[in-house]
Point group: none
Chain length 123, copies 4
DNA sequence: GTGGTCTAGACCACG
DNA sequence: GTGGTCTAGACCACG
């Protein structure tokens, strides 16, 4: 899986990495149990500090998306905990995005299509 | 309209204010042409510095959501420009949120309902 | 001549009035010697304070564009002083505008056409 | 690149900085990708507060002229978006300047030469 | 070391 | 009375 850093984004690099891996897992591009690149390899590939990649992996581990061990490096978890709920923070963000879209004249259908596309990984 | 600041949020205070006002406009809680609290009044109410409120208002002004003049203070714009599109940044965020929800076992129906609720201001 | 105030502009109202009258004189819409509306009449028409109109007229008078007397009110000057030069401030502004246009990919021809149009009052 | 603040100008300091950097990019004095002075360094050099410089940089960032990151400081963007149009505000300003120049007896040739000089960076 | 956020306080122009 | 600008100074996250 290719990680692309947007140097113009306000999002910290470690968060961009974290987000792309989460989306990769959700879309199936990263399969359960699949090996992630080593911290060093990914840092070298992207051209950033190993500390930054390490921070991204640490977050993913804390969130239960990946697991790490000394021998095998990092791998996507076989079972990701299904809380069945959207976090309050994500709900706030979702509401903000829908509000802005609505005020920009975007129809509900367009938003639904976008959401469906993301959910079913067609995009 | 009551602005509530979450002091534990990573979001800067001025951005929390900005977001809540945008959502207030979208939901209709803030009508077109409606007067916003003065910079000083809102700062006092929230218990923050006037500069922070001022920054939020200036962003809203730049984005075309409100207008300010020294005589009348800040007011919701009568006509908000309808670009008809969702910004790339918001699309990325939407995709991230949907991905995380999906991995948490949230059904597409639940997300759609949430989106509809936000769009039609029932929440 | 109709004065239109842009309530969304950052430019103070008195400056918007001043600018429109200057442009009106330059385009010929306001002839030499022509009577301007009284301060009260213009303030009433635009829906603003008489002080604001008065300030605009004062500036125009100081700049030599108009003259006022108690009997006849304000009139466009017969002879506007021809210094033959562009003020340093206007040169700076012109340079800024040309720079921004250039960086936006606007061709020199387009700018020239615009300038010509303004100069010959075809716009 | 040397930034010079005119303390007698009506233009806010942050806007003077912003304008000079935009003109520096347009003239080529500031190359694509070139490092700008740090917020602290420029503030010290000009003798103003860091907040004021920071505000200038944030505007430039929002407008797409520069990018900032905490590691490398601020740099001129490699690709500046070419909208191909002059903003309505700049058109108004241009018209005002041309009108004033015309009334001062400045010939169209002189204005054209000035515009050409600014466009081709000969000044 | 860098930019980003925030405060407390001051002064100003506009209307 | 209003928003806008600016200062001096502090603290923080990122890398």
């Amino acid at each position: 899986m290719v990680i692309k850093i947007d140097e113009y984004s306000d999002l910290p690099i470690y968060m961009q990495i974290r987000n792309q891996i989460v989306m990769g897992i959700s879309s199936g591009e990263l399969a359960a149990g699949e090996q992630l690149p080593t911290v060093r390899a990914l840092a070298l590939e992207i051209g950033i500090n190993t500390m930054t990649v390490s921070k991204a992996y640490q977050i993913l581990k804390n969130e239960g998306y990946i697991m790490t061990d000394r021998k095998n490096g990092a791998r996507v978890r076989q079972q990701i905990e299904k809380t069945g709920v959207i976090s309050g923070e994500n709900k706030n963000e979702l509401r903000r995005i829908v509000s802005e879209a609505r005020l920009s004249g975007v129809s509900i259908e367009e938003i639904r299509d976008l959401v469906d596309g993301y959910y079913y990984g067609k995009i």
